[in-house]
């Protein structure tokens, strides 16, 4: 059992409140996943720079700042507890290589032009507080509370998984063909940092998106290629989608108003959202992809 939540704003009305809405949803899903939590927030930016979400683990921030500033000149760092958002025009290929080489204790949680991503072990309420999610604004966001079943309780084993630029995926369920699929994707050039099944699903999505498939079509083909139980919420820079497997054992509820679409494992996660009692509330049908944006 895990809790998954997501919110996609159809209008600008709640952009400033996105973090608040998402944190309420995550706090409520503590009962479904007390082991770790994480969230991704998308915020449009016109600047031609990249944002890298890093977890520096036990490394001292001041030391990291000093060391990385020697390697890269043009960069800005924002600290959120043990996570750092690095803003720089440096391209991903170069930046990731540098981090992996010079700072082996640092994990890259995600990167892109609009995504900021945070995840850590611990109670969702503490994780949300630690990263100050309430203060975030943005256009869409996705979150996860984890009850670990098939791999260890670690930061790397926490969701959301981001395996490509501005991409992320959360999962409630378990995949049964992830080992085979991981081998196939590795051959195609994907890299993986954990033994987690969801990371394979995220890799599958990244691989398909990089072949110019839309998010919707990617998930439609995923229904054939991903075997197991799942409700997925996936995000891209401008897109947002949800899909449940054909058996549909893993729950999901959607609430849609003229201003937003919210998805959660249980309705109680959305009960605090503005105007939710007048929303169109429905369960996504089994084996059907629902998508918004692009």
């Amino acid at each position: 059992m895990c809790g998954i939540v997501g919110i996609y704003l159809k209008t600008k009305k709640f952009e400033k409140n996105l973090g608040k809405m998402l944190s309420g949803m995550l706090n409520n899903m503590e009962s479904r996943g007390p082991d770790s939590a994480g969230f991704a927030v998308y915020k449009n930016s016109d600047k031609k720079e990249y944002k890298y979400s890093l977890c520096i683990n036990n490394l001292d921030f001041t030391k990291f700042k000093k060391d990385i500033s020697k390697k890269i000149r043009n960069l800005k760092l924002n600290q959120y507890s043990d996570h750092i958002i690095v803003k720089t025009p440096e391209i991903p290929k170069k930046f990731i290589k540098l981090i992996n080489k010079e700072f082996p204790e640092v994990s890259i949680v995600g990167y892109g032009r609009s995504i900021e991503i945070f995840k850590q072990v611990g109670n969702p309420k503490d994780v949300v507080k630690k990263f100050n999610l309430e203060s975030f604004s943005g256009t869409h966001g996705i979150g996860h509370t984890r009850m670990a079943t098939e791999s260890a309780i670690t930061t790397d084993g926490s969701h959301p998984y981001s395996t490509g630029e501005d991409e992320c995926l959360v999962h409630n369920g378990s995949l049964s063909n992830h080992n085979n699929l991981r081998r196939e994707l590795k051959k195609k050039g994907n890299t993986f940092t954990s033994e987690n099944d969801t990371e394979v699903a995220a890799g599958y999505v990244s691989n398909s998106l990089s072949n110019n498939n839309s998010l919707k079509n990617t998930l439609v083909s995923g229904l054939k290629d991903l075997d197991g139980f799942y409700t997925f919420i996936a995000g891209t820079r401008k897109g947002f989608a949800v899909v449940r497997d054909e058996i549909a054992c893993k729950p999901a509820v959607i609430a849609e108003t003229k201003n937003y679409v919210a998805i959660a494992s249980e309705f109680q996660a959305m009960a605090h959202l503005p105007d939710v009692n007048n929303a169109k509330i429905f369960e996504p049908e089994p084996g059907t992809v629902y998508s918004w944006g692009n």
Partner: protein, 227 residues
């Protein structure tokens, strides 16, 4: 009496409803702000009239005996699961496994019910005004499942003595489930159920009846492909 789940704990509300003094005549309750809580009104044993204003979570009205519970909203997984008697009326949609394993009473759902509606039901009557999802009536043993809309894949898989009445289309039948003849006694029974659920716009004669072919009751090697 009004019970506000924003002010009272769920356990306080349920305990109050579960321990009603039998001599008391005031038996009408309204629950406000349910906010998707699980197990609202679970385990009630007395004749009460309860109106829940809003959406609830899992196992609402589970194990109900005698109480008459109306939910003015949607319900999560397993509404009225294991109900013994009484009536549960959902005015919105129901999630999966509505009326699961229930022995008696009446469950009416005004909207749709998703997958596995009436799974392993053991005597309850379920009336769904909308449609039901896949594997509804799975392993159902007794009682009646009435659906005014359509049914999803594998309807009535491995069922026993339950009667399933469907007005709309059936996507596919499960193992050992077949269409059966509607006799006068079935039309009478169905008419009564429609009346109990306050459905006036549908005629019992427009429904089809489904039940067990009884080929799987005992193991026969010839039926191996059905297992």
């Amino acid at each position: 009496m009004k019970l506000d789940l924003k002010k009272l704990k769920l356990r306080e509300v349920n305990e109050q409803l579960q321990s009603i003094d039998r001599k008391i005549n005031d038996r009408d309750f309204t629950i406000i702000n349910p906010e998707g809580n699980h197990a609202v009104c679970a385990g009630l044993t007395e004749e009460l009239n309860i109106n829940i204003k809003g959406h609830v979570g899992y196992y609402c009205a589970g194990m109900n005996q005698k109480a008459n519970i109306t939910i003015e909203g949607n319900v999560g997984t397993g509404v009225a699961e294991n109900m013994m008697s009484g009536k549960v009326h959902v005015k919105g949609n129901a999630s999966q496994s509505a009326g699961a394993t229930a022995h008696g009473g009446l469950l009416v759902i005004d909207g749709d019910a998703s997958s596995r509606c009436g799974i392993s039901m053991k005597g309850i009557d379920i009336v769904v005004k909308g449609s039901v999802g896949h594997m509804s009536g799975f392993m159902s043993q007794a009682g009646n499942l009435v659906v005014c809309g359509d049914a999803g894949e594998a309807l009535g898989d491995s069922l026993y003595e339950t009667n399933i009445y469907i007005r709309g289309k059936v996507k596919s039948l499960g193992a050992d489930c077949v269409e059966k003849k509607m006799d006068i006694k079935h039309i009478k029974k169905l008419s009564l159920l429609l009346k109990k659920a306050n459905i006036k716009n549908h005629n019992a004669e427009n429904f089809k009846r489904y039940g067990s072919a009884k080929k799987l009751y005992n193991f026969k090697i010839d039926n191996i492909s059905n297992y």
